[in-house]
């Protein structure tokens, strides 16, 4: 059993039932947890920015930085481990914004791009928690597919 930390612009995949994938400090970034109940393969990605078109050369080096290139990489990695698109359970959190009229709204754009991308490919989020002005920690437990969000010291199920 291991606690595997997913840093910013990073993806981790595991099929060991005891493993726990965790990403701290989701601010405007979005974290997506995907888990297949049959194979118990799961993955967690932490994307910094919405679209790779902002910096295509960076997306080449690290596709996990962007929602539009990273989430596809997460799904493909799980398919290679035998996960099926029908069984995959997807949950996501993050996308916080600055207070007031945030002129950049990176958080809102990250979550909007994620939802649009998933819809376009026929996926739905089983649960999500986006927005607000709070940082979040997202955790995926490989044994059960349980996903939790921790914010301001309080942890709850997603």
């Amino acid at each position: 059993m291991a606690n595997i930390v997913v840093s910013i612009s990073d993806l981790k995949i595991s099929q060991k039932p005891g493993d726990v994938l965790v990403t701290y400090s989701l601010g405007s970034c979005v974290g997506v947890a995907a888990w297949d109940p049959l194979t118990r393969a799961g993955g967690l990605i932490h994307c910094l920015l919405p679209l790779s078109t902002t910096a295509p050369e960076r997306a080449q080096q690290n596709p996990y930085m962007f929602v539009n290139t990273g989430v596809g990489a997460l799904l493909k990695a799980l398919f290679r481990l035998g996960a099926s698109r029908e069984r995959l359970v997807l949950k996501a959190a993050g996308g916080a914004n600055m207070r007031g009229e945030d002129p950049y709204s990176i958080g809102a754009r990250n979550s909007a791009v994620l939802e649009e991308l998933l819809a376009r490919h026929g996926f739905t989020l089983a649960a999500s928690e986006f927005g607000g002005t709070i940082p979040r920690t997202l955790t995926l437990f490989l044994d059960s597919g349980r996903v939790t969000v921790k914010t301001l010291g309080e942890e709850h199920e997603l």
Binding site: I8, S9, Y24, S25, L26, G27, S28, C29, L48, L49, T54, A55, R58, M65, G94, A96, N97, M98, R99, G100, D102, P103, Y104, I106, G107, G132, T133, I134, P135, R136, L152, G153
Partner: protein, 280 residues
């Protein structure tokens, strides 16, 4: 005694800066000082000397030069740059401790401060500006008021957060409403008390309210954007979270559009690893 006065009085009880830094600050305030004296002061403190040499020999601060003595660092980087690194090296340990009032476990305040400092410089590079020499150190010190205010927030964080939520206030405005003073102002007062240069104090004082600052200032604008970028990364955030408002005026003044901001964020992540190791 009002809450504000009580808080401001507590600034004086914060532990003073290490002696070598105090001497360096005195040197800086003396118009007749010989800046060669700076290296002599630092060299009396072996720990500080080692830290400074680590910084000046890093790719981030020194550009991969081989510098073997403080004297040589002053010669090659200039006394002003060495001075700012000296403050950074001296203050960083103070930012490591737990700040319960803000929900910051050990290391988180330093983490957020480092991210702010690097983000301010990443923004400058992204936009093609040369960041003023005190930009990094000002960013690193921008959160220092939380050390003082943390004690008071252990009692009052609840009402401050509730007020911010209920009225859509930024965190520093809610602090002002509940405590009579906010952590940015307390930070500036603490740095003044420590005798830090006015340029740094100015950035720390106004970095959350740049639109109200008496004068335009590039380092201030950069640290303001750095603060926003650091909030967006979520790194080292406490219960104040992303409750800060980025200024449109500053964005316009810098010519920072959405694409520029996203690229500055990506660039920030490149530089952060090295800086984290330097201050670890």
């Amino acid at each position: 005694m009002s809450r504000r006065d009580e808080i401001l009085a507590s600034v004086k009880s914060v532990e003073a800066m290490p002696s070598a830094i105090q001497q360096a600050l005195a040197l800086l305030r003396d118009p007749d000082a010989d800046m060669h004296e700076l290296s002599r002061i630092i060299e009396f403190d072996p720990g500080l000397t080692a830290n400074i040499l680590r910084l000046v020999n890093s790719a981030y601060f020194g550009g991969l030069r081989t510098i073997t003595s403080v004297r040589e660092a002053v010669l090659r980087l200039g006394s002003s740059q060495v001075f700012h690194l000296l403050i950074a090296a001296g203050v960083a340990p103070r930012l490591r401790k737990e700040i319960k009032g803000y929900g910051l476990s050990p290391g988180m305040l330093l983490e957020n401060s480092m991210v702010t400092a690097v983000a301010a410089e990443s923004t400058a590079r992204q936009l093609g500006f040369t960041a003023p020499e005190h930009t990094f150190t000002s960013g690193l010190l921008s959160n220092v008021g939380k050390i003082v205010l943390g004690t008071f927030l252990e009692v009052d964080a609840g009402p401050i957060l509730e007020l911010a939520e209920a009225e859509g206030l930024t965190f520093e405005r809610a602090e002002e409403a509940v405590l009579g003073v906010s952590h940015d102002e307390v930070g500036a007062i603490l740095l003044e008390h420590w005798g830090l240069p006015e340029a740094i104090v100015y950035v720390v004082r106004w970095r959350l309210k740049p639109d109200e600052a008496p004068q335009e200032d590039l380092a201030l604008d950069l640290v303001h954007v750095g603060t926003a970028l650091a909030s967006m990364t979520g790194l080292g955030l406490g219960l104040d979270g992303l409750n800060y408002r980025p200024s449109r005026t500053v964005a316009q003044r810098l010519g920072l559009d959405l694409r520029g901001l996203e690229l500055a964020l990506a660039r920030l992540m490149d530089d952060l690893g090295e800086v984290r190791e330097l201050f670890a």
